[in-house]
Symmetry: C2
C-alpha cells in the first residue's frame, strides 16, 4: 500500500510540475470554465485555455485514480479495523481523514486541474451518490419493524426536523445580528442553514449499530428518522430558498407546511406506483427468462422513480425509498432467482461505494474548495447550536411519544394500576442515544451548495466543518456511548430473510457437498411449517394469546406488559396486513410464486416478539 501511495504522491507531483511547466493558468478565479465534465473539446477550446484534450484526459484519469485509491484505502482500513476488532476509530472517520490528507496534498501541489476535478459537486452527489444509498436502505429495510415504529419515526422526522431547523435558525440569526462577525444574513437564510444542518446522516451510525447488532427497535427508529429527515430537510430548504430575498410573511409558514405535505404524499405515491409497476411487469411478461435484461430493468426503473420525482419538483428520496420498499415487498417474488441475487448484491455494493465516497469527498472538500471562508467563532456557535437544536427536538418529542403510548395503553386496557407500571415507549437511554445519533452528513453539505447570497461561502464553510466535526465527535464516540448507556446489543434479528447463503468463505472442496448446499437446501423445507396464513397467525401464536390472558389477571411483570402493548399497537396495522395478503399479493405476485411469496411473510407473525 505504501508503495502505491508513494506512486500516487509522485504522480501528483509529476502532474503538478507538468501542469506548471506548461504554463496553465493557476488563477483560482479562472475556475468556472474548468469544472469536471468540461473536459470535452468544445468546452476545452475556451479562449486562453491551452490544455489539449489529451492532457485533460490524463488529468481526469489521475483524479479518478486518486478517488478510487482513497476508496480502496477506506475499504481496506475498514477490513483492518474489523479484523483487529478496533472499535474506537470508525471507517467513516478514516474516510474523512484520508480525504483531508489527499485534499491537502492536492491543495499544496501546483496546478488546479486535479483540484477542480475532485471538487464536491452537488449535482453528482444528488444524482449519482445518494440514490444507491437510499434505494438500498429501502430495499434492505426490515418492513415489519419500520411500520411498527412508524409513529415514533414520523414524530422525530417531521416535527423533529422542523423544531431543529427553527431553533438553529433562530440562534444563528441572533448571533449574526449581534454583528460580532461582520456577517449579516436574513432570517430566511438562517432558516435555510438550519434546514441543511437538520438532516441527520444514516450511514455512520447505522454501520456501527449493524456491527453491534443493537436492539432492532432503537435501530429502526434512528434509521427511519434519518432517512425521512433527509427528505424533509431538502423540502424545507427548497421552500426557504423560494423565499430568499423576499420579506418573510407569517402566511408563508402555512404555505410551506402545505407544500411539504403535498410533496411528501405525492412522492410516496410515485415510489409505490413505480414499485407496483415493476411487480406487474415482471408478473405479466416472460422477462424472467432473460435475467440479464431483467436485472438491468429493475435497477433502471427504480432509478427512474428518483429522477421522475425530482423532475416533477417532488422529493426523489422519498419516492426512491418507497419504491425500494415496494420492490422488496412485491416485485422481489416475481423475479428470477438470479435477478434476486444480482439486484440485492448490486444495491449493496453501490451503496457501500457511495457511502465511502461521500465521506472522502467531504474530507477533500475542506481543502479543495478554494472559495470557502472560515469564521471560527461562527463554526463554534453553530456546532453548539446543533446540539441545542437536537436536544430541543429529541427530548420533548420522546416524552410526547411516551405520553401518546401511555394514553393509548390506558384506553385499551382500562386503567389497571398506576401509570408508572406502564413502561416508556422510548426509555431514557434510547432518547439519549437518539440525541447522540444526530450526526450530520453529506446531504447537508450538498444542500448548502445551493445557498445564495453574499455570505454563501462563509455559510458553506461553516456547514462543511460542522458536519465533519459531528461525524468525528459523535461518530467516534457512539460505540462507547452504547456501553455507557447500557443499551442491549448482540440482538439477532429473526426477520432477517437474507440471500446470504454465500456469505461464507469459499467452501473447501471436501466440505463442499455439505457446506453451502446444505444451507441452501435447508432454507427450502423450513418454509413449509411457518407459512400459515397470516390472518390466523395471531391466534396460533402461543406467546401472545398467553400474555393477553395473563394481562387480564393484572399480575403482569414489565416484560409481559410490553408484549401486550405491542399486541395492541400492532393490531392497528393488522388490517393492512390482511388486505395485503388477501387482495394485493394475489394481484401483484405471480400465481406460481404465491407460495414462495408467503414464505417471506412467515416473518410477520414474529413482529410481536420483535418490538421488545
Amino acid at each position: 500500500m505504501s508503495t502505491a501511495f508513494t506512486q500516487l504522491v509522485l504522480g501528483l507531483a509529476f502532474r503538478g510540475a507538468l501542469c506548471w511547466a506548461k504554463g496553465v493558468n493557476t488563477d483560482p478565479d479562472d475556475q468556472e470554465g474548468t469544472l469536471p465534465g468540461d473536459e470535452d473539446p468544445p468546452a476545452g477550446t475556451l479562449p486562453g485555455d491551452e490544455v489539449s484534450p489529451v492532457t485533460e484526459e490524463i488529468f481526469s484519469s489521475w483524479a479518478l485514480f486518486i478517488m478510487l485509491f482513497l476508496l480502496i484505502s477506506a475499504l481496506w482500513s475498514s477490513y483492518f479495523l474489523t479484523q483487529r476488532r478496533i472499535k474506537a476509530v470508525h471507517e467513516t472517520v478514516l474516510s474523512i481523514f484520508y480525504g483531508m490528507v489527499v485534499g491537502l496534498i492536492i491543495r499544496l501541489s501546483p496546478g488546479h486541474y486535479i483540484q477542480d476535478a475532485v471538487t464536491f459537486n452537488s449535482s453528482y452527489f444528488f444524482n449519482i451518490l445518494l440514490p444507491p444509498i437510499i434505494l438500498n436502505s429501502g430495499y434492505e429495510l426490515n418492513q415489519a419493524n419500520f411500520f411498527n415504529n412508524i409513529v415514533s419515526i414520523l414524530v422525530f422526522a417531521i416535527p423533529g426536523t422542523f423544531i431543529s431547523s427553527v431553533v438553529l435558525g433562530v440562534i444563528l440569526y441572533i448571533w449574526t445580528a449581534l454583528g460580532l462577525e461582520s456577517i449579516d444574513i436574513s432570517f430566511v437564510d438562517a432558516l435555510s442553514v438550519g434546514a441543511t444542518l437538520s438532516a441527520t446522516d444514516p450511514v455512520t451510525i447505522l454501520s456501527i449499530f449493524n456491527a453491534y447488532k443493537v436492539d432492532p427497535k432503537l435501530y429502526t427508529i434512528i434509521f427511519g428518522e434519518s432517512l425521512l429527515n433527509d427528505a424533509i430537510s431538502i423540502v424545507m430548504f427548497e421552500t426557504c430558498q423560494k423565499f430568499h430575498g423576499k420579506p418573510a410573511k407569517f402566511s408563508s409558514l402555512f404555505e410551506g407546511i402545505g407544500l411539504f405535505l403535498m410533496t411528501f404524499t405525492v412522492s410516496l405515491l410515485i415510489g409505490v406506483m413505480i414499485g407496483i409497476l415493476v411487480a406487474l411487469l415482471l408478473k405479466h411478461t416472460l422477462i424472467r427468462r432473460y435475467p440479464r435484461i431483467e436485472s438491468c430493468l429493475v435497477l433502471l426503473i427504480a432509478y427512474e422513480s428518483y429522477f421522475f420525482s425530482n423532475g416533477c419538483h417532488m422529493s426523489g428520496i422519498v419516492s426512491l425509498l418507497f419504491c425500494g420498499i415496494t420492490l422488496k415487498h412485491y416485485a422481489y417474488f416475481n423475479m428470477s432467482r438470479r435477478t434476486q441475487i444480482t439486484v440485492k448484491y448490486i444495491f449493496q455494493l453501490l451503496a457501500q461505494l457511495s457511502e465511502n465516497f461521500i465521506f472522502i469527498y467531504l474530507g477533500l472538500s475542506l481543502f479543495t474548495e478554494v472559495e470557502l471562508v472560515y469564521k471560527p467563532m461562527l463554526i463554534i456557535i453553530t456546532g453548539i447550536s446543533i446540539c441545542v437544536a437536537r436536544w430541543c427536538a429529541v427530548f420533548p418529542l420522546s416524552n410526547f411519544v411516551n405520553w401518546l403510548y401511555r394514553v393509548k395503553a390506558r384506553r385499551s386496557m382500562g386503567i389497571y394500576g398506576n401509570d408508572a407500571a406502564i413502561p416508556d415507549e422510548i426509555p431514557y437511554q434510547y432518547q439519549m442515544m437518539t440525541f447522540w445519533a444526530g450526526l450530520r452528513g453529506a446531504v447537508g453539505v450538498a444542500l448548502a451548495m445551493g445557498l445564495q447570497g453574499e455570505f454563501k461561502f462563509t455559510l458553506l464553510a461553516t456547514v462543511l466543518v460542522v458536519v465533519v466535526l459531528t461525524v468525528i465527535i459523535f461518530g467516534g464516540t457512539t460505540a462507547g456511548m452504547l456501553e455507557v448507556l447500557g443499551i442491549k446489543t448482540g440482538c439477532i434479528d429473526e426477520n432477517d430473510e437474507s440471500d446470504d447463503e454465500f456469505d461464507i468463505e469459499m467452501p473447501k472442496p471436501i466440505a463442499l457437498a455439505t457446506g453451502p448446499i446444505a444451507s441452501y437446501t435447508d432454507e427450502v423445507p423450513s418454509v413449509e411449517p411457518v407459512s400459515v396464513p397470516i390472518s390466523t397467525a395471531t391466534a396460533n401464536n402461543p406467546l401472545s394469546s398467553d400474555t393477553v390472558q395473563s394481562s387480564s389477571r393484572a399480575s403482569l411483570d414489565k416484560q409481559h406488559l410490553r408484549e401486550t402493548l405491542s399486541t395492541i399497537f400492532s393490531a392497528d396495522s393488522q388490517w393492512f396486513t390482511n388486505f395485503d395478503e388477501q387482495v394485493l399479493k394475489p394481484v401483484f405476485l405471480d400465481s406460481d410464486n404465491s407460495q414462495s411469496g408467503k414464505k417471506s411473510d412467515s416473518s410477520t407473525p414474529n413482529i410481536l416478539g420483535n418490538r421488545r
Copy 2:
C-alpha cells in the same frame, strides 16, 4: 409504455416552455458554460446566467430521466425481439433509432439545458462507459480459445488496423486535396480520421454471434481483433495528434511504431501485475470473510488499472483487458463464493448498460451536437473508403495467416501429400465474415471528439454518420450474412464454466428441491473425475493420441488433419500451461482452494477438441 412516453414528451415540452418563459438564453454560442457537470452553483453563477441551482437540478433530473427511459426502452425492445424471435432488426440499431428520435425532439424543443446535458462527452465515454465493457470482455473471455487463436488475432489487430488507417487516410487526403468540398486537411489529420474509423466495435456483432452460438474460432478471432483494435486505434490516434500541425517526417513512422509497441507492452504488464496483486491480496488476507468489502475492492482495483494506465500515458483499455483476464485466471479462485457471483453479475450488468447507453448516445448526438457540419459527399466517400480499407486489411492478411500456418504445418509433419490437402486456417467464409464484422463503434466517435483544427466539426460529423451507418447496415445484415455464407452456428462451448446456475426461472416451490439445487449439486461431483493434472492430460486424451497415430499413417481426412494441426500448434503454448500449473498457480492461488482452482482448468484438455 406509450403513456410514459407521452409524459416524457409533455414533460419536455413543459420544461422547454418554462425555460423559454424564464428567458433563458437559447443562443447556441453560449453553450460552453452550461455543459453537464456545470450544474453546481459556482459555475451556475456565471454572469448572465439567471437559472437558479434548483432549476438546474430539475433539468439534470430530466436529462437523466430521458437517458434511463431510453435505456429501458432499448432493453425492453431487446426482450421483445428475443421473445418474438425477430432477427432482422437488432437491439443496437433500435438503441440508435431511439436515441435519434429523442435527439430530434430535444433539438426541436426550445431551451438548451436538456440538450446540453445529453451531449456526447468523450470524457464520460472513456472514464465511465467504456471500462465496464472492456473489463467484462476480459473477465468473460474464453481464455483457451483466445490464446489458441492469438496469431490470427494479433495479425488482424496490429497490421490490420495499421493498413486500414493508412488506406483510409490516403483516400481521404486525396479526396480533400481535389478541392471539391472546400475543405483542406493535412495528411496527419487524414490519418487521424483513418485511425478513429479503424476501431471496430465488439458490441453488436458479438451479441449477434452469441445469440447464434457461432463457431468459437470465428467468434474469438473477431472478438479479439475488435478488442485490441480499440487500443491500437487509440494509440495511433494519439500518436497522430502529437504530429498535428507539424510537418510530417518519415522518421515519425518509426517513432510511432516504437511508441506503440512500448505502450502495448507496458499496458499489458500493468494489467497483469494488478490482476496478480489482487490474487495475492485475496490469498494472504482474510478479506474473504467480509464479502461486501471484498467485492468492492476487486471492482475498484480493476478500475484502478484502467486509470493508472491512462494516467501514465499508456493504454487503459489494454491494461483493463489483461487485468480482467488475470483476475479470472487467478484471483477468481481466491474469492469467496459470494464475491465470485457478485463480481460476475456486476460486470455483466454494467457492461450491458454501458453498451446500450453508448448506442443511444450515438443516436442522440446526431441531433444534439449543434455545431456539426454535415458534408454529404464526404460522408459517402468516407463510407465507401472504410469498406475498401477493411477489404485491404482483411483479405491479404487472412491469406498471410493461411500461408503462415501452411508453412508451419508442412515443417512440423514433413511433406505428406500436396498443399491443397492442408485446410485453410481462415477459410473464405470466415474472411468474408471478418470483413462484414467491421462495423465501427463509439470508440471512433469518442476519439473523433479529440480532433483539432479548422475542420474539426466537419470531420466529427462525418465520423458520427459513418459509424451509425455501418452499425445499421452491417449490424442489420450480419444475421443474414451468417446464413448466406453457411457459417456453422449453434455451437455449444464446452469450456463454458459459468456461474449461471441461477439462469433459470424462479423455481416453482414444488420443484425447488430437485430444480436449481440439483444443478448446483451436480456441478460439484462433476469436478472430481475431470480434475486430472494437466501435464498428463494430453496423454490421457484418447482423441488426440488417436489422431496423432492416424496422422502418421497419412490416411487422414480433412477433419483429422485439422485436429492434428491443432495439436501441433497448441503444443507451442503447452509450456506456458505447464509453467502456470506448476509454478504460478501454487504461488497465486490459495492452497486451500488449489483443488477448486484446478476445477476450471479441467477444461484445458478440451482445448484440442475446440479449435475445429
